[in-house]
Symmetry: D2
Amino acid sequence: MIRAAVVGAAGYIGGELLRLLVGHPQVEIVAAVSRTLRGRPVDSIHPNLRGRTRLTFSSYDQLGHPDVLFLATPHRETMQRMPAYLDSARVVIDLSGDFRLHDTDVYEDYYGTPHEAPGLIGSFVPGIPEFHRDRLRAADRISVPGCMATAGLLSLVPLARAGLVRGDITVDARTGSSGSGAKAGSENLHAERSGALRVFAPTRHRHEAEIAQATGHTIHMTATGIEAVRGVQLLSRASLADGVDERAIRSTYRSWYGDEPFVRVVAARRGMHRFPDAKILSGSNYCDVGFALDRGASTVTVIAALDNLVKGGAGNAVQCMNVRFGEPEERGLEFTGLHPN
Amino acid sequence: MIRAAVVGAAGYIGGELLRLLVGHPQVEIVAAVSRTLRGRPVDSIHPNLRGRTRLTFSSYDQLGHPDVLFLATPHRETMQRMPAYLDSARVVIDLSGDFRLHDTDVYEDYYGTPHEAPGLIGSFVPGIPEFHRDRLRAADRISVPGCMATAGLLSLVPLARAGLVRGDITVDARTGSSGSGAKAGSENLHAERSGALRVFAPTRHRHEAEIAQATGHTIHMTATGIEAVRGVQLLSRASLADGVDERAIRSTYRSWYGDEPFVRVVAARRGMHRFPDAKILSGSNYCDVGFALDRGASTVTVIAALDNLVKGGAGNAVQCMNVRFGEPEERGLEFTGLHPN
Amino acid sequence: MIRAAVVGAAGYIGGELLRLLVGHPQVEIVAAVSRTLRGRPVDSIHPNLRGRTRLTFSSYDQLGHPDVLFLATPHRETMQRMPAYLDSARVVIDLSGDFRLHDTDVYEDYYGTPHEAPGLIGSFVPGIPEFHRDRLRAADRISVPGCMATAGLLSLVPLARAGLVRGDITVDARTGSSGSGAKAGSENLHAERSGALRVFAPTRHRHEAEIAQATGHTIHMTATGIEAVRGVQLLSRASLADGVDERAIRSTYRSWYGDEPFVRVVAARRGMHRFPDAKILSGSNYCDVGFALDRGASTVTVIAALDNLVKGGAGNAVQCMNVRFGEPEERGLEFTGLHPN
Amino acid sequence: MIRAAVVGAAGYIGGELLRLLVGHPQVEIVAAVSRTLRGRPVDSIHPNLRGRTRLTFSSYDQLGHPDVLFLATPHRETMQRMPAYLDSARVVIDLSGDFRLHDTDVYEDYYGTPHEAPGLIGSFVPGIPEFHRDRLRAADRISVPGCMATAGLLSLVPLARAGLVRGDITVDARTGSSGSGAKAGSENLHAERSGALRVFAPTRHRHEAEIAQATGHTIHMTATGIEAVRGVQLLSRASLADGVDERAIRSTYRSWYGDEPFVRVVAARRGMHRFPDAKILSGSNYCDVGFALDRGASTVTVIAALDNLVKGGAGNAVQCMNVRFGEPEERGLEFTGLHPN
């Protein structure tokens, strides 16, 4: 059994980690740390776990020495505590933003605060099995990308690496309200957020930097809050290199993802399910990727969708754990998603 | 011109009062009082008013002496400040719960605190033009009923007064999230509230007492938060007195509401719009009332719907103001509502 | 392996059966019958199954002789074809309304058409493991109750059997749009149905008859379409027998459901998750049951929630299959549901 | 009084025209033409009009000779009947797509059918008072732009005409379900459309051609169906010409729209209402326009929002009628929109 602990267990990502770990046959949860809820039953905050666990929240000092430690904690606080976390657990899987960017200047630029543990950045392996599976098998420090970044990386990196696109890439990201976390703020009130089309980051969203770092292209990304609790969809546009046609793109995606358990290429000729839609992905670990060429094949529109709390966070982290601990990669992540939903 | 002021102007009911008063050709808004936002433009909080008003929020001491003062303030605080409000304005229209119940024991029972201005209760006229129009023409103190209570009163009082129903009445009330107000609380976060079917008051909701007081029947009311920002729908059930048939109910409603501008009897034989639905009432001052008899005519199911912020609050208050100041009753309340919406 | 077939596989209940059966380790799907879609891939209609199955729809004549046949077909058509179905499969699990009611007069009364296979009704065992587990172990003909009926049966039968309630019971049922099925009708258009509070059955809903049959009480049920795709919530009210208190109700539910894998008693003192809410049940096979007593303990309000396509249909049917074929009862039904969602 | 008629009165745009015309003090509706509903009350299809009109639907032959004829009819059918329409009414305001594009090759390219009345195209004045007010005062033939096109034109034309942007413009358009009209189709079922992020036109949406025609720039537009009944939001990106800064853009918009009653420039420094959001525009005739510069001012992100049935259709058409008939331009269009909503 893998002895797992979660810090930040009362939040939405933390709760999703607990949901997946409770259902994982090879995992024992040894601690669900919450700063404020010590002693309270986990299912009083995450009611979907009723009848599935008798776990209660614990405090930092009860963390002990788990085999794997998942960090669902705010940026800055995470890098400050990281040395202690590294001492306590053999494997640390970080879902914060602190160890995703390799360049500390870029970090400071996007996060507005200097990096406080620059020496540790290089020791983290990016938590993307589709790109770094071999390194993850032996990684003791894993940094899971952001929810929108994951959709951007999985949909754009293959095209960039293959040289199929050129120049700047524009990214329109749409995200549900769970991405804002469980903290109450008037802008997240149902009456304000319901039905909103809120452009909360017209430029300079932090996940933009992750996509730029991985693709090597300049990214112009916007982020809009849409009416959904879960779900991220990215719609990206890029100019095609000379002579690139639909077949070239399709075969590139196939060569990258043909054997991947959690990336599906979705680009049908017709029907209402032609392209990736987060609507059918809630709870699943899939990232669906699709594309369409403009007539004349001068530009490609790339569409990617995922559940921000699963493949965009907790699910991706559990997939990394499976790789690291030699478990079947799909274990605990079998849920298909619902239709209709 | 009627010089109007609103206290509690930053809240949802307050904002709706401002929306209606800004559009009222015979009203001048002399003060929009907010405890915390003095000096800030009203449209920074109520963005729908952009381009419609240059009004800024003011503090209590800037209240002055308006012709009419609307109170969109919390219960308890309202009765404590009422003597001062009564000094400042000729006509006070209170939208809080403090002066709706005549019996101070019932008040204490439902609000959990003793009434602090019992001597004033009797001087308030209930803000329901359909029932108290003549008294309202001369009323200087008006107490507007609660949003769910308004739907209950308009749909059940005619049947109760006419003796068409007997015994206890069950009321299943559904309400949107704006009824919880603009205060941030984790239970009102979009991620928690979206799509919820939350039975937040299985018994003893405060509006139950208002319906019981007006009908003279014992009311068993539940309140459920449903997926909507605006909108209240009440589904009530009562036993019919002997010999009461559909015609008797229809003619009773017609005799009460045939000439009313804002109550529509909606009980069609078929179609998707057979019964009242808050979906098409957002922004309008209508309360739609419908009903259906069980086969055998032993019980009647009564359905009522309204916009909790309009006929359930601000709109009803403006209607009362129109009556009191001799304005055409529909003035400033002409919006029909939208379909589809 | 259990060789399973589904008729009506293109509908929402049919698709949910396929989702659960595809994920069931002991089931092989031998046919997914659709009148109109023969030869088309199942995942072109049910996109959540992409990458999970290569199954294509087949026609009736390709049904063969499965071990278990699930019928997700319309009433009337189902009883007409039933003799043929019974010949083709060892075990038939019917999700239509045709074999739920024992009294053919009641059937004709609620369905508006005479029963065409009265001789077969008695041979069907109700598909409710919580009530009929022993009979289901040997049952070759199983009739799964309606979605709202399931919530009503599981929440009310224990109280009725124990004599804790008396007299008529009122039931307010709320249901999502997937209950209307995949057939296009203008009343189910998104623009018409979104945000609706549509009382589509003020009286005489068909599921009322199932609840009356099982409880022995007169049921006054209303059905309202609310804003949700999945989810049913029933709010029922009954008078308590003399001397019945909260403990008596709680212990009754505990004795019935304490060991049940898919019924949870949810009745917390406080918090936003006090009572059953379908919001967190999408995709799960749970039926959550809760209750609250009016002060004075004269009446009880019972709340039940489930996913209409899972415990209210396909999941319940799979649970019956597990019982019938000696599989662990939770197999293939492990999904916990999501929070937030 | 202006004697007005509507053809296509049973649809969503037609219903919105009726809502606005019923509330217009200087308009008399002389005919509401529906191919299929002759004789039925208008409020049986548009329930928001209950108590506001006794109008019934009529047939083509009852059209008579209105002062103004609004056409809310499908493309192709509209151009085929146009000669007859022009004979029947003094002023024709067309809301179809048939007379928006000046180049018949472009029309055929985007609509997939040759234009059947090319000789009439030049006689139509574009129905955009902000750009063509003077011509509209005397126009007898007016062609109202598409809903998404209107948002694109109002937000991009000023920047294009002033030479502030250069090169291709990308447009990410999001639209609610009412844009699909009242026709039932399985892709518009609530269960399928609810919560969808459906990229239904990754390239080549028809409104793209209108924006290209008016701006002179190559437009790369995508269209995504989002969870809303009403509402369009466009998020466009363009490269800035050398030396263009925020002030230049702001002053350009101000010079175009400073005196316009229905275009508001919304670009706040902070807060949840920084940028245009259709959420607060339902029922209003506003088009809100905002923008943000990328750091370094190399590109501008332009955001525009409106209600597709009002400023994106019926409201814009009524505004054109007011201009044409010398009415105050805001008459009948005073509704501010709701917050929260």
